[in-house]
Symmetry: C2
Subunit: 178 residues, 2 copies
């Protein structure tokens, strides 16, 4: 089963390498990963998708939580949350008929045309992982010249203070150590 | 200066750890990173944002390219490309007046309301890095309960076959070694 983990980590040099290294050392596969800044410039949020049974995931969550600079880890799969992924697709439209067909699909699916080139267009779409898979499958026959997916990100519907890194006992302890 | 690197890598266990480890070992900071599947299940695409002068970036591109399982690396900043980032923002709207103001901002900015809760809503937006920064600044006064950004992804407008991993002399060589 796919699990989406959300990891709040101090934005320090080498921390991402430590998290990713822990997964590879233990033999856990990372299906997708995103890391970007949060409201607090000192913290980053890592969203990571991995597969495994509940027991395996519980183990890896515990191990990631042991990393000193990690403030919070959660398996969002067990919480009320909202997931999305962004995809950019450069589609070939070599004839005007092909362009028409792609544009009608774009309009039917409420997608966004980000850019029109002479012989193709760049489509921007967001959705859940399965929806993006279905869209990619639908566009394949036209010829996809280039595609980039962000991988899943997720937000809590009702986050606790700890989740968003406002309070965080662990952080206070870290502060005291410095 | 911010540089967006696009790295096409074999989807093998531990490859992401090797790339991220190379950045941290050399002291290069990763501002954002996404990794997800491509059309070919054997390949992943890493989009990585880092800062540095042109000479430094040229060096790191060369070093990443030396990794055996990396098929292609490019500094997209020098190429014709299209960049986007996805953000999910859980905004507090404790009064109906606050809800009204946020909804009017949503409509003015052509954003998407992904979910409405009793005392807040989840906004989904895509844009360039600077646009997302501006949006976050605009929503701050309402109270952001949770925010997750994917970091930048980018597609080429006119990709070569090598870029998308179709041809790739390096891959053929790798195949021969196995």
């Amino acid at each position: 089963m796919r699990h989406t983990l959300s990891i709040l980590v101090e934005n320090r040099f080498g921390e991402l390498a430590r998290i990713v290294g822990l997964f590879s050392a233990r033999g856990y596969n990372i299906e997708s990963l995103t890391v970007a800044e949060t409201l607090d410039p000192e913290l980053s949020c890592v969203t990571l998708v991995t597969s495994g049974d509940d027991r395996t995931i519980e183990q890896i969550v515990k191990q990631v939580n042991k990393l000193v600079r990690v403030l919070h880890v959660a398996d969002l799969t067990c919480e009320e949350h909202f997931e999305r992924e962004l995809v950019l697709i450069n589609v070939k439209t070599e004839s005007s008929a092909a362009m028409q067909t792609v544009l009608s699909l774009v309009s039917r699916r409420h997608l966004h045309v980000a850019e029109v080139m002479e012989d193709g267009l760049i489509i921007e779409a967001t959705g859940e992982w399965k929806q993006i898979n279905a869209l990619v499958k639908e566009l394949m026959p036209f010829g996809i010249r280039h595609i980039v997916r962000t991988g899943t990100v997720a937000v809590w519907k009702n986050p606790s203070a700890e989740v968003v890194g406002i309070a965080g006992g662990k952080r206070a302890r870290l502060g005291a150590q410095q």
